[in-house]
């Protein structure tokens, strides 16, 4: 029975090669196997994650040096690590600039995870919340809460974004004839619904006073410039909770990609899994939209970039996907500061090019 040629008999119970040919996984892997924990982690994912962390920290520190008040790199490091350094610089770094970088990390990670969830759910790289209207729905919800009900705290905006996003999800779901799996139809319906909600948002803006409209428009460009710790903390708590709840989806959604029948046979409840994925995905988009306004194309691009970097077989994932999104937003925000525009403008510009390329390659494959 055994193909193992080694004459040694003292093989431990956990040795992966005891008595059978190890599977050729086609890539280098770290193996973890203890009594309670066991996993197989691709070396490539670990390396990619480390590189992304370096990019995030580097771009983040650079971002902290930017602004009207001159703080050089060394001063930033001193301010962070030495409590006895210049209190003025510490105030600038900690109270004004660090929250912005941390917000960029949080927004990027949340949007990337949401994108991974929806792209896996629809089995389509275009099936991201930006395209299928959930982002616009969340934006509509926040505009309504801010302008019509005049509630401008984070939790109210987050609730508005969540309700708006979920409402849009239900609308798209019903209009797509409850057929979430026919992704092409879903995407077309989503584009239609987002166009409708976009014009409703515009209509609200032109029918209120100029001051209110300006406030909403500034938020609507997608900016993390004016955000402080008072908004970061509630956003971070919501983010941590939703992310933790979403983690099981990283194992179930790739199985669901194989179709409902195969997934059911493997012990997944497709309906329940899809519902959870929709709610958590919309919640992740909503928590970002409420704080920073719409930051487009991160949810679209990050899962695809991460999938190519790690050579994964699904857009859904955890650490590498979220780090990719975080790196994209931190770098975009540094660029946004250099050219003095909101970060949403940078992501839209870069993302628009990516979307054009994606559509072109998808079209080429289809024909």
């Amino acid at each position: 029975m055994s193909i193992d040629q080694k004459p040694t008999t003292a093989s431990s119970a956990t040795a992966p090669s005891g008595g059978f040919t190890p599977v050729d996984h086609g890539r280098r892997l770290f193996r973890i196997e203890t009594a309670r924990i066991s996993a197989l982690i691709p070396v490539r994912s670990v390396v990619v994650s480390i590189v992304l962390v370096v990019v995030i920290v580097g771009a983040g520190l650079f971002s902290v040096t930017l602004g009207a008040y001159e703080v050089d790199f060394a001063a930033v490091l001193r301010a962070i690590f030495d409590p006895a350094s210049d209190p003025d610089i510490r105030q600038v770094v900690f109270e004004w600039r660090l929250p912005r970088v941390l917000f960029a990390v949080l927004c990027g990670a949340a949007l990337a995870l949401a994108g991974g969830i929806f792209q896996s759910l629809t089995r389509n790289p275009l099936g991201s919340p930006d395209i299928i209207g959930f982002g616009i729905g969340a934006q509509f919800g926040v505009t309504l809460v801010m302008i019509v009900f005049e509630l401008n705290t984070y939790m109210f905006k987050a609730a508005g974004a969540l309700v708006g996003g979920l409402f849009t999800a239900v609308l798209v779901y019903v209009l797509a004839n409850k057929n979430m799996m026919s992704s092409f139809r879903l995407i077309i319906v989503g584009i239609g619904v987002s166009a409708g909600l976009g014009s409703l948002t515009s209509w609200i803006l032109i029918s209120v006073s100029v001051e209110k409209a300006m406030m909403a428009a500034t938020w609507g460009a997608g900016s993390i410039a004016s955000l402080g710790f008072d908004q970061l903390i509630p956003a971070a708590i919501v983010f941590a909770i939703v992310t933790l709840l979403s983690l099981p989806l990283a194992r179930t959604l790739p199985v669901l990609e194989m179709g409902d029948d195969a997934a059911t046979a493997l012990g997944i409840r497709p309906g329940r899994t899809r519902l959870a994925a929709m709610v958590f995905g919309v919640a992740l988009v909503a928590l970002v939209t409420a704080a920073a306004g719409p930051i487009s194309f991160i949810a679209l691009a990050a899962p695809q970039i991460s999938q190519r970097l790690t050579r994964s077989n699904t857009p859904m994932g955890t650490v590498p996907v979220m780090l990719t999104g975080a790196a994209l937003v931190v770098v975009s925000d540094a660029v946004a500061q250099l050219v003095a525009v909101p970060v949403g403008v940078v992501t839209v510009s870069v993302g628009g090019l990516y979307l054009a390329w994606l559509l072109a390659t998808q079209y080429a494959r289809r024909t």
């Binding site: 040919t21 086609g26 309670r36 099981p248 790739p254 179709g259 029948d261 012990g267 699904t314």
Partner: protein
């Protein structure tokens, strides 16, 4: 004869119209049970009922004395596997990764890949002869190879019972026989197989227990050598035929009589 998998007076259907009413079927342990019948006879519906894809409106599917629906989905998936009629291979997935997904019901958040998973995948790929394809992309394989990979995934699930929904439908004759031989090997090695098949002669050659259905009911069941007769084929398919002994396997061979020969 013991039957740990059985349907107890189940009614199955879509919407309000039942396709199968109060059906009883006991799947003999260690059998290769094949269900045959004309289109729309309810054979696929019955298999979907066994596979938890369709909830019975009355009655229940029992596995080891428990109602299948009362088990947790992952627990049921460790006991009963399915090769669906059509599955979707994600873009860019390798053979080893796809087969590995069959291990889902054995894994948990803390144990995402153990040596037991490694062993099951290795053995499933060896049993289906796809070990050498391990690093290949599933998209690049031929139809016959791809179906073997899906079988390997179902085997990696390591279930005592395996359901097969028209497993040979889209394959040419050589790959059909190749796959039926593979199933016969799996049956010999101890898996109880339940298949829905269109080809009556393949069913007659490979089944140890044949179930003939028509209009949502079982017309006859048993050893194909005993039950396949011209009368049965006529009763099930309205097809005039003659039945001879297959010179290769010694099992019944159904030869349809066309209008030109009668």
């Amino acid at each position: 004869m013991t039957a740990s998998l059985r349907a107890r007076e189940i009614t199955l259907g879509y919407g309000d119209t039942p396709i199968i009413s109060d059906l009883i079927l006991e799947v003999p342990d260690n059998s290769f049970t094949i269900i045959i019948g004309p289109n729309a006879c309810g054979k696929s519906t019955l298999l979907r009922g066994f596979a938890r894809l369709l909830r019975p409106t009355t009655g229940a599917v029992l596995l080891d004395g428990d109602e299948l629906r009362s088990l947790k989905p992952k627990e049921a998936a460790r006991k009963l596997g399915l090769l669906p009629q059509s599955s979707i291979a994600p873009d860019g997935i390798t053979v080893a990764d796809l087969v590995g997904r069959g291990r889902f019901p054995h894994q948990s958040a803390m144990r995402t890949w153990s040596s037991a998973d490694e062993r099951a995948v290795s053995e499933a790929m060896a049993a289906t002869g796809v070990t050498d394809l391990s690093r290949r992309l599933v998209d690049e394989l031929s139809g016959g190879q791809r179906q073997r990979v899906w079988v390997a995934m179902a085997l990696a699930q390591q279930t005592k019972h395996l359901l097969l929904d028209e497993p040979t439908t889209f394959l040419d004759i050589a790959h059909q026989i190749d796959l039926m031989e593979l199933f016969a090997d799996l049956h010999r090695d101890g898996t109880t197989l339940v298949a829905v098949l269109h080809d009556l002669n393949h069913a007659a050659r490979y089944a140890t227990h044949l179930v003939a259905m028509r209009d949502g009911a079982i017309v006859a069941q048993g050893d194909p050598r005993e039950i396949i007769t011209a009368e049965l084929v006529h009763a099930v398919y309205d097809l005039p035929c003659t039945v001879i002994t297959d010179p290769v396997s010694g099992t019944p061979l159904v030869l349809p009589l066309g209008r030109r020969t009668t």
